[in-house]
């Protein structure tokens, strides 16, 4: 091979290499440009879906807060009814502009939360389980409480006291002592600060979550345990046999077998789970979302 041939070969080889480089780059670029292969359409769909989901989840939270209110009774039915009306109106409004079909139904089995109650006035004894009948844990490792109402109707015997004790994450204790030395007295002692007392004649209605008490029409307020302790809580009744009354407690936590038999607890959607179905021109999918209830 003479020198001129070699130069020609190198020249042709260089051109070939250049062609390969350019072709490869252009080919790779065309893959991204071609709509059938690129992720542009998919990315837009995903982004829109995420926005839509966030919007719907916000709405579900608003509806849950509005339908729950302060009344636990029939919340599931009210929420299901609200979901039906919401999806109907949502689909009517949105269908005219974008065509998104939404279906949302309450999924009770996937919801988080448990309710225990005593609806007829009797001693605040352990409903089931084993161990002490009068000193017992309502719930342990409680992350979130939505209702804790208690009505003390009677404390037979002077000087006797009935106690509800809540222990927070740090081990600090919030305590409520109910006595009836004549009039009824509800004395609340937070981990730090003075004891607050409500007193009056009649049934003592106490909302331990809101920090309100009403004894025979005389209202009062006290610092609630959620204000003064950090979760998780252990909620305990002491000397439950000393008083008679009713209570209702709904929360996310551990309701121990030492306090309850099967059937003593009931599911309650503290955090409702909602099965949602989205059907849009570009995507159809299902989601089960746990609804953060917006109390605002």
């Amino acid at each position: 091979m003479v020198a001129s041939e070699r130069g020609q070969l190198l020249l042709i080889g260089g051109i070939a290499v250049a062609i390969v480089v350019f072709s490869t780059i252009l080919f790779a670029h065309s893959l991204a440009v071609t709509d059938g292969i690129t992720t542009t359409g998919s990315a837009d769909t995903i982004e829109r879906s995420a926005d839509r989901e966030a919007s719907v989840e916000r709405d579900l939270g608003v509806l849950a807060a509005r339908t729950r209110g302060d009344d636990l009774d029939g919340f599931e039915e009210r929420y299901e009814n609200a979901l039906r009306n919401y999806t109907r109106t949502h689909n009517r409004v949105v269908a005219s502009s974008g065509g998104t079909y939404l279906n949302a139904t309450l999924n009770e089995s996937a919801s988080l939360g448990t309710e225990v109650n005593q609806t007829t006035a009797s001693r605040f004894n352990r409903p089931g389980g084993t161990g002490s009948n009068v000193h017992w844990d309502i719930a342990r490792s409680v992350d979130r409480v939505v209702v804790f109402n208690l009505t003390v109707t009677r404390i037979p015997g002077v000087g006797r006291e009935f106690i509800v004790k809540v222990e927070g994450d740090s081990g600090d204790t919030w305590k409520m002592v109910v006595t009836e030395p004549g009039n009824k007295e509800v004395a609340v002692t937070p981990p730090s600060g003075p004891t607050t007392t409500c007193s009056g004649s009649g049934d003592a209605d106490v909302d331990l979550l809101a920090g309100t008490c009403d004894i025979g029409g005389t209202p009062g307020t006290f610092p609630s345990f959620t204000e003064t302790l950090d979760a998780p809580y252990t909620v305990r009744i002491e000397k439950g046999n000393r008083a008679r009354g009713t209570y209702r407690f709904a929360a996310i936590g551990n309701f121990p077998g030492t306090s309850y038999d099967s059937g003593d607890t009931a599911p309650y959607p503290v955090v409702p789970a909602v099965d949602t179905t989205y059907d849009t021109p570009s995507a159809s999918y299902n989601r089960t979302v746990r609804v953060g209830v917006d109390d605002g």
Partner: protein
């Protein structure tokens, strides 16, 4: 000898090709091809969508939707000096950047075909007319319930419940339910 040289040349050429390919791929924009207009619309869409999402998260969008005042609307497309939080967001994000926008509030009304109210950022013929073809669109929904208070003044003060307000733009779509109406807020920017 010559065969060895050619082999070496081939290997070197392959290295050059691979290196150039890798370098070339990292140098070029492998994103989807977009014209200048498409890029502008995509950027506007992102801004519009983010603005609505942020307003929804902070509650400003809800307040704006539930805003009500007798006579003159509190939300009026004021380009500067608006005291309404949502409109201030629109001012900052679009008006000051020279963008125009229309805001459409769609709701359900079973008794009438009028199911939309519009707000324009500037009373120009272009704004009042249909949106231009190169506009960006973002939507968000707001659910209103019967007991939600109407917003008054700068849309942060609370007024009577929506179900008790006469003249509020959206009627009670579900009279037998806690749901008052669902309002789709559609922001069109160009």
């Amino acid at each position: 000898m010559r065969g060895q040289a050619y082999t070496l040349e081939g290997v070197l050429a392959a290295i050059v090709v691979v290196t150039a390919t890798v370098y070339g791929l990292s140098a070029v924009d492998t994103g989807p091809f977009q014209t200048g207009t498409q890029q502008r619309i995509a950027a506007l869409e992102t801004r519009a969508s983010d603005t609505l999402s942020l307003a929804a998260e902070t509650g400003a969008l809800h307040n704006a939707t539930a805003c009500y005042s007798v006579g003159t609307p509190t939300l009026n497309g004021n380009q500067t000096g608006s005291s309404t939080e949502f409109e201030m967001m629109l001012n900052r994000t679009f008006d000051r950047q020279g963008n125009q926008y229309n805001l459409y509030l769609s709701y359900w009304n079973s008794d009438s075909s009028a199911r939309q109210t519009a707000l324009v950022s500037q009373e120009t013929g272009e704004n009042v007319a249909d949106r231009p073809a190169d506009a960006a669109v973002a939507t968000e929904t707001v659910t209103l319930t019967d007991d939600m208070p109407a917003r008054i003044g700068d849309c942060s003060g609370t007024g009577p419940p929506l179900s008790a307000v006469d003249g509020y733009f959206a009627p009670d779509a579900e009279p037998d339910s806690v749901v008052y109406n669902v309002v789709e807020v559609r922001l069109v920017v160009w």
